[in-house]
Amino acid sequence: MRKILFQNRNTIAAFVIISLIIVASCNLFAITLSHTSFVTGTVLLICLLMLAGYQLRKKLSILLIGKTSAWLQFHIFLGLLTSVLFMLHIKMQIPDGLFEFVLFLNYLTVFFSGVAGWILSRRIPHRLLSRGEEVIFERIPLHRRNIHEKVKSLVRESNTSEKAAIPDFYEEHLRTFFEGPRNQLRHILHSERHRHELSQKITALKPFLNPQELAVLQQLTEQIQLKDDLDYQYVFQAIIKLWPFVHVPLTYSLIIFALYHTLAVCAFASTSG
C-alpha cells in the first residue's frame, strides 16, 4: 500500500497537526464569546473556493502554476481538512433547518464522493492493469463492435453445414453477451461466474461438433475472453470516469448554497448562533 493515499508520512502528520490547531483555536476562540461559526464558516467557504479552484487550474494547464499533481495533493489535503472544519462548523450536530440540511447533505455528498474518488483513483489503475488490454474508454464501442463483427463472421463461416450448431449456440448464449457491455456488477465484485457458466456451456457443446466447428468454437472462446476483458476495462474505466459526475456538478450547487447560506447568516445570525 505504498503511497496509496498520501505521498508521504509527513503529509499525514501535517494534517493531524493542522487539524488539532484548528480544533484548539476554535475552542479558544469560542471562549471569547466570539461566534466561531462565523470563523469556521468563512474559512470553510475559502477552502471550498480553493478546492473548486482545482478544476479551474486543470483548465489553466498552460500556465506555470505548479504541477497539477501538487495541486491534487493540496486539493485532497484541503478537502480532508474541510471535514474537520465542517464538523466544527455544524458543532457535530445534524442541522435542523431544511435549507441547512440540504446544504449539509450536499457537502457530505461532495466530500464523500471526493474521498471515494480519491480511493478509487488509487485502487482502480492497478486493477485496470491487471486484466485485459489497455484501451481508450471512448473507443470501447469500436473495439466491441470489431469483436462482434469478427464473431459474427466466424458464426457465418460455420453456417455451411446443415446442422448449424454454432449459430444456434451463438443465438442462444452469445448474441446478448457480444451486443453490449455485460456483467458490469460481476466485474465490480470480481465474480467470474458468468465466464464459468459460459465455458461449461461450451464444454457441453463440444461433443456435438465436428473438427471444423471445434476450431471455430476455439476462436469464439478467444473472442469471448477478449470481450469479457473489454467489459472489465469498460466497467472500471467507467467507474473512474463517472465519480466526478457526482463530485464536480454538486460542487457547483454546493458553492451556490454556501454563498446563499453565508448571505442569510450574515443578515440573520445576529440573534441566533
Binding site: 476562540f29 471562549i31 433547518g97 435549507f99 471512448e138 456538478p249 440573520f268 445576529s270 440573534t271 448562533g273
Partner: protein
C-alpha cells in the same frame, strides 16, 4: 496470445480528442465512427447524401466536389440520392456531459435559493432549526427577532454589511424582555460608570491570581469589547432546538471579559469576604447570647412559648417560598414570649407630652384657675411637644424673654416682679389647651406648621386626651379665656368644680395616652411592640439629621436605649426603645435614614450579581444544620459588647447612646463569615457544581420573579 484490439499505427488510429464537446454518434451507437467527426456545434458533418437536381426530367447528382463530387451511380429515378444515409446525431462527450450536469446542478441550486428559500420575505424553510420552547410561540414570525426578515434578498445584502444589525435585533429581544432594564445591552446590564466602579473596587480588593492558559491564549484573539453595547446573541444563541439551553456559558467564557481571571471556583475564586455579613443585620439580635445562654439555661425556660426552648435555627428561620431567603419569624412568634412584657413595661409611666408647670396661686393672683399649685415640677423644661406648640406664641415668648432662663422646677421661686411673666406662661398654656380642645387638629397644624410635621396626626390622637384634661383641669376655661380676653379678673375658684368630674372620666383611654391628675401630666405609654404612634413618629423624625435629633429631648426619651422616660426617670430597660433592636440605616447619598422595621427586606437591592438559595442547601443531609456554614465566632469573649458597638455609639457627652446609622459597616455578627472553603467542600470539580452561573447572575438588574 490474443491479438491486439487496438492498432497504434498512424493510419488506423487518429488523435482522440477528449476535450471536444461532441463525439460521433455512430461511435457511441455502433462503434463505427466516421473520419470527419462532428462539428464544434454538435452537427454531423457527414453529407453523404445529396439533394439531386432535376434537369429536364432527369435527376442529376448535386454532390459537391468537396464531398467527393458526383457519384457514379447517380440518383434513383424517383429523385432520391443513391447513397446510404450515414449521418448521425452526435453525442456529447463525457467532459461536456459533466459540464452540462454541473450547469444543471448550479441552476437547480440557484433556483432553489431564489424560489423556495428566497422570495420577498424569508420562508420558514430557511430557518436553521427550532427555537427554544419559550420562544416557540413566535417562531413562525421571523420579524419578531430579525430585522432582516422584513425584506427579501436585497434587504439581506444591505443588512449583511450593516454593523448595527446585531444591536437592532437585540432591541427586538428587549421588546419582550423589558425586565432586564434600560441598560440591558451594556455588560451586566449596568451603566458603564457603574461597571467601571465595580471593576475598580474588585481590582483593589482582590489579589491577582494566575490566569488559566486557555484564557491567556484566548485573549490573543481579543476579548469582546465591553465598552459598548453587546448584542444578546453574544451569549444567547437561538435555533438550536426546543430544548437548547440559551443561557449555557462555560466558566472560561464568563471570564473572558473579566480583568481578574482564575482557574475555577475551587482555585483562585476571590474570597467571599464577609459575605453574607458585609453589613450588620437589620435587627440587633445577639445569636450568641440567645443560643448559648437563653435557649440553654433552664431559668429562661419559663418564658419560652409554651415553655419549650427552641432547639434549632428552624424555630426562627424558615426558607421563603422561592427557597432563596431564610425568613426570620415574626416578632409575635419568636420574640414576643420573652420580650413583649419588656416592651410593654407596665411600670413605665409613659412619655410626658403635656404637663402643667407648678405655679403657686399667689403668682396667678386674679389671673384665673391653675390646678397645679403644689409640689415641684419634675423637669427643667416643659415637654417637647408643649414647647413646640408654644414656640409661636408671642405671649409665651415674651414671658420667656422676661424670665431669662426658665427652669420650671423653680418657677415658683421667681421674683415678684416676674410674676406677671409667669402668669403669662400659665395663660399661654391655658389658651393652648383651650384652642386645642375647641379647634382640635387644626390648631396643631397651625402652631407646629411645617416645622415639626412629625407631631401632626399622631395616632392615636392626643386631642381627645387633651380635651379631657381641659375639662378636668380647667372646667371653666372658656369663661376664663373670655374674661381674660376682656382683661377682666378671672376668679380662681373654677378649679374646684372640676374635682367632681374627675372620677367620671377615665384617666386612661386605653390607647396609650394617660392623664395623670397627681402631677398634671399627659403621658403616652407605648402599647407594646410595633406601637403605631412611635413607629410613625420615628419614621418621620428619622428623616432629618440624627445628630441634631440627639439634642431633641423627645428623641432622647424615645430612642435612647439606656434610659427611659425623662432623664431623671429610671424607667425599665426596654420600654419604647424601638431602636434598641431596630437599627437605623442612612442612605449615604441622600442622607435620609430609615428604620429597619423588618429583619430582611426581600429584593431590596436592584443590582444583584449573586444569587444564593438556601433551600437546596438545607436539603443536603449534613448541611441541614445551619451551623455547617454559619459558625459562631469562637474567639470573641464578649460578643454582646462588640455587637452593640455596631448599633450604638456612645455619644461624646457619655450620657446616652447615639444611633449608629451606618448600615454598611462590617458587622461583627457573632458568626464567622461563610468561608469559600466551606462552599468548595461541595462545589468543586468532582461534583461539577462550581460553574459561575451556579451562583452568579449576568443580568444584574433582572427583576426577580415574585415568590
Amino acid at each position: 496470445m490474443t491479438e491486439q484490439l487496438q492498432p497504434f499505427d498512424w493510419k488506423s488510429s487518429n488523435y482522440e480528442r477528449p476535450a471536444n464537446t461532441w463525439v460521433c454518434g455512430r461511435l457511441c451507437e455502433e462503434g463505427l465512427p466516421c473520419r470527419l467527426g462532428p462539428g464544434s456545434k454538435g452537427d454531423c458533418q457527414v453529407q453523404s447524401r445529396c439533394e439531386p437536381e432535376e434537369k429536364g426530367g432527369k435527376y442529376q447528382c448535386s454532390r459537391s466536389t468537396l464531398h467527393g463530387g458526383k457519384c457514379k451511380t447517380g440518383p434513383a429515378p424517383d429523385g432520391t440520392c443513391c447513397q446510404p444515409d450515414t449521418s448521425c446525431q452526435p453525442r456529447r462527450s463525457l467532459l461536456a456531459r459533466r459540464r452540462l450536469l454541473g450547469g444543471i446542478a448550479a441552476f437547480i441550486a440557484a433556483s432553489l435559493c431564489l424560489i423556495i428559500f428566497g422570495g420577498a420575505s424569508p420562508s420558514p424553510l430557511l430557518s436553521p432549526g427550532a427555537v427554544t420552547a419559550s420562544h416557540a410561540k413566535i417562531e413562525s414570525n421571523c420579524t419578531a427577532c430579525h430585522t432582516a426578515a422584513e425584506g427579501g434578498l436585497g434587504t439581506w445584502i444591505h443588512i449583511a454589511f450593516n454593523h448595527e444589525t446585531a444591536l437592532k435585533d437585540s432591541a427586538l429581544c428587549l421588546k419582550c424582555h423589558a425586565e432586564l432594564g434600560n441598560e440591558a445591552l451594556f455588560a451586566h446590564g449596568v451603566s458603564l460608570n457603574r461597571l467601571a466602579e465595580i471593576t475598580a473596587r474588585i481590582q483593589t480588593k482582590n489579589e491577582p491570581v494566575s490566569t488559566p492558559i486557555a484564557l491567556q491564549l484566548a485573549s490573543l484573539t481579543g476579548p469582546p469589547a465591553t465598552k459598548d453595547q453587546l448584542s444578546c446573541s453574544t451569549c444567547h444563541r437561538e435555533h438550536h432546538g426546543r430544548k437548547a439551553d440559551l443561557t449555557h456559558l462555560t466558566d472560561l467564557q464568563c471570564q473572558t471579559c473579566h480583568t481578574r481571571q482564575f482557574e475555577d471556583f475551587q482555585h483562585g475564586h476571590p474570597a467571599l469576604g464577609d459575605y453574607p455579613y458585609n453589613r450588620r443585620s437589620r435587627i440587633y439580635f445577639d445569636h450568641d447570647a440567645h443560643l448559648n445562654r437563653y435557649f440553654v439555661k433552664e431559668e429562661f425556660k419559663r418564658t419560652m412559648p409554651a415553655g419549650v426552648k427552641p432547639d434549632s435555627c428552624n424555630s426562627c428561620h424558615t426558607p421563603d417560598a422561592s427557597g432563596r431567603f431564610m425568613l426570620t419569624g415574626s416578632f409575635q412568634n419568636t420574640c414576643a414570649s420573652c420580650h413583649e412584657p419588656q416592651i410593654e413595661d407596665l411600670e413605665f409611666p409613659g412619655v410626658p407630652f403635656f404637663a402643667l408647670p407648678t405655679i403657686s396661686p399667689q403668682i396667678m393672683k386674679a389671673q384665673g384657675a391653675w390646678p397645679n399649685t403644689t409640689g415641684t415640677f419634675k423637669t427643667a423644661r416643659l415637654p417637647q411637644l408643649m414647647e413646640l406648640l408654644l414656640e409661636q406664641d408671642p405671649l409665651y415668648q415674651n414671658a420667656i424673654t422676661q424670665l431669662g432662663t426658665v427652669d420650671y422646677r423653680k418657677l415658683n421661686n421667681a421674683d415678684p416682679d416676674q410674676y406677671a411673666a409667669v402668669a403669662d406662661i400659665a395663660w399661654s398654656i391655658k389658651r393652648l389647651l383651650y384652642d386645642i380642645s375647641t379647634d382640635g387638629e387644626s390648631v396643631l397644624q397651625q402652631r407646629l406648621g411645617n416645622s415639626h410635621p412629625e407631631y401632626l396626626h399622631l395616632n392615636p390622637s392626643l386631642i381627645p386626651t387633651l380635651s379631657q384634661a381641659q375639662q378636668i383641669w380647667f372646667p371653666n376655661l372658656a369663661t376664663e379665656i373670655k374674661l381674660h380676653g376682656e382683661n377682666k379678673p378671672v376668679p380662681a375658684t373654677a378649679a374646684k368644680a372640676s374635682k367632681t368630674q374627675t372620677s367620671r372620666i377615665p384617666r386612661d383611654a386605653g390607647n396609650g395616652w394617660t392623664l395623670s391628675e397627681s402631677d398634671f401630666t399627659i403621658r403616652y405609654r407605648p402599647l407594646g411592640h410595633a406601637d403605631p404612634l412611635l413607629k410613625r413618629w420615628f419614621d418621620q423624625v428619622i428623616q432629618s439629621q440624627t445628630q441634631a435629633l440627639d439634642r431633641d429631648p423627645m428623641w432622647r426619651i424615645l430612642s435612647n436605649p439606656t434610659a427611659s422616660g425623662t432623664e431623671d426617670t429610671q424607667g425599665a430597660l426596654a420600654s419604647g426603645r424601638c431602636l434598641m433592636c431596630h437599627s437605623v440605616d442612612q442612605n449615604p447619598e441622600t442622607g435620609l435614614s430609615r428604620i429597619n422595621w423588618l429583619p430582611l427586606p426581600v429584593s431590596q437591592t436592584t443590582e444583584r450579581f449573586t444569587q444564593f438559595s438556601h433551600a437546596p442547601h438545607l436539603s443536603m443531609g449534613q448541611y441541614e444544620k445551619c451551623a455547617g456554614c454559619h459558625a459562631f465566632e469562637p474567639s470573641r469573649p464578649d460578643n454582646s459588647a462588640i455587637l452593640q458597638q455596631d448599633y450604638f455609639a456612645r455619644a461624646p457627652s457619655n450620657l446616652f447612646w447615639q444611633i449608629n446609622v451606618d448600615g454598611q459597616q462590617t458587622c461583627t455578627s457573632g458568626f464567622q463569615p461563610v468561608s469559600h472553603q466551606t462552599c468548595v467542600t461541595c462545589h468543586n470539580k468532582t461534583t461539577e457544581t462550581q460553574s459561575c452561573l451556579q451562583c452568579h447572575n449576568y443580568h444584574a438588574h433582572k427583576r426577580m420573579e415574585k415568590p
